[in-house]
């Protein structure tokens, strides 16, 4: 796992995302049985949120009037958080699936 974090950190540097990304982490959310687990996560600007979809269905992580990440069945999708604040997201295909990300400064 450690080497993976290093790779992501190096990738961040290569992409020139700024010094803050050196410590960027990947926060994993499992999507299973029609739920985001854990439903609430904390992240810092520059961190990557990775959704691991174990369901046989396609899901989304959608912020109303904001971003959307499509998470295909049995696949993984990710997003780098860029803004401080709290966002509520849901699955556009299954609106009863809900999650929350609280983003603080790096």
């Amino acid at each position: 796992m450690r080497s993976r974090f290093h790779l992501i950190a190096i990738a961040g540097l290569l992409l020139g995302n700024g010094a803050g990304d050196v410590r960027a982490e990947t926060i994993r959310v499992t999507v299973e049985k029609m739920a985001f687990v854990p439903a609430q996560i904390q992240a810092r600007v520059g961190d990557t949120i990775e959704w691991i979809n174990k369901d046989i269905l396609v899901h989304t992580a959608t912020v109303k009037d904001g971003w959307e990440v499509l998470i295909p069945a049995k696949k993984t999708a990710s997003l780098v958080v860029r803004e401080v604040g709290q966002v509520d997201y849901y699955c556009r295909f299954h609106p009863n699936m809900k999650g929350r990300i609280s983003v603080t400064k790096p």
Partner: protein
């Protein structure tokens, strides 16, 4: 005006669950696979009717969700029966479900606009309730193959989500 879903539910219960109880106390795996698959096909057909008839955004997007999910579950079901070398077996419950669904679709086909939307969504609530009840009390406990049982359990989770979603859409139509 809540008569329609209640009537639909009562009819489905009479045709579906009663015949389940009569036909066999404990359906076999090939019968369970057939019932579950049939239930999915019915919902996809109802959804396709809704997509073609409804002009309501929430109703159409719910119907699209039903097509996407039920087709995904049924694809898994087909893969599983192939892997297990099980041939789904037609049975009285599947037949009763199909017959009730045909009657319901004939009723829906005659409706338009808001009355169609309401009837479709109310039926979706009642139908998912009925199928989830059958999964919980009969199909899952009766399944003997662990992989089939697991897929039915996954299906139940998904369809419970659909039921909530349908209830939410139904509330928005009032």
């Amino acid at each position: 005006m809540n008569m329609r879903p209640m009537t639909a539910l009562a009819t489905l219960c009479l045709l579906g669950l009663a015949s389940l109880a009569q036909a066999a106390d404990k359906p076999t795996d090939p019968q369970i696979a057939h019932i579950a698959y049939t239930a999915g096909v019915i919902d996809v057909e109802n959804a396709k009717l809704a997509i073609s008839k409804s002009g309501n955004k929430a109703v159409v997007s719910f119907a699209e969700d039903m097509v996407r999910d039920h087709e995904a579950v049924n694809t898994q079901a087909l893969d599983l029966v192939k892997k297990l070398k099980v041939t789904p077996e037609d049975n009285d419950t599947s037949k009763a479900l199909s017959k009730a669904a045909e009657d319901e679709r004939a009723k829906l086909a005659k409706l338009d606009g808001a009355s169609f939307d309401k009837a479709y969504v109310d039926n979706e609530v009642a139908y998912h309730k009925q199928v989830n009840g059958a999964l919980e009390t009969l199909l899952i406990p009766s399944a003997s193959n662990p992989e089939l049982k697991a897929l039915l359990e996954t299906g139940l989770k998904i369809f419970q989500g659909h039921q909530q979603h349908a209830e939410h859409v139904a509330a928005s139509l009032k």
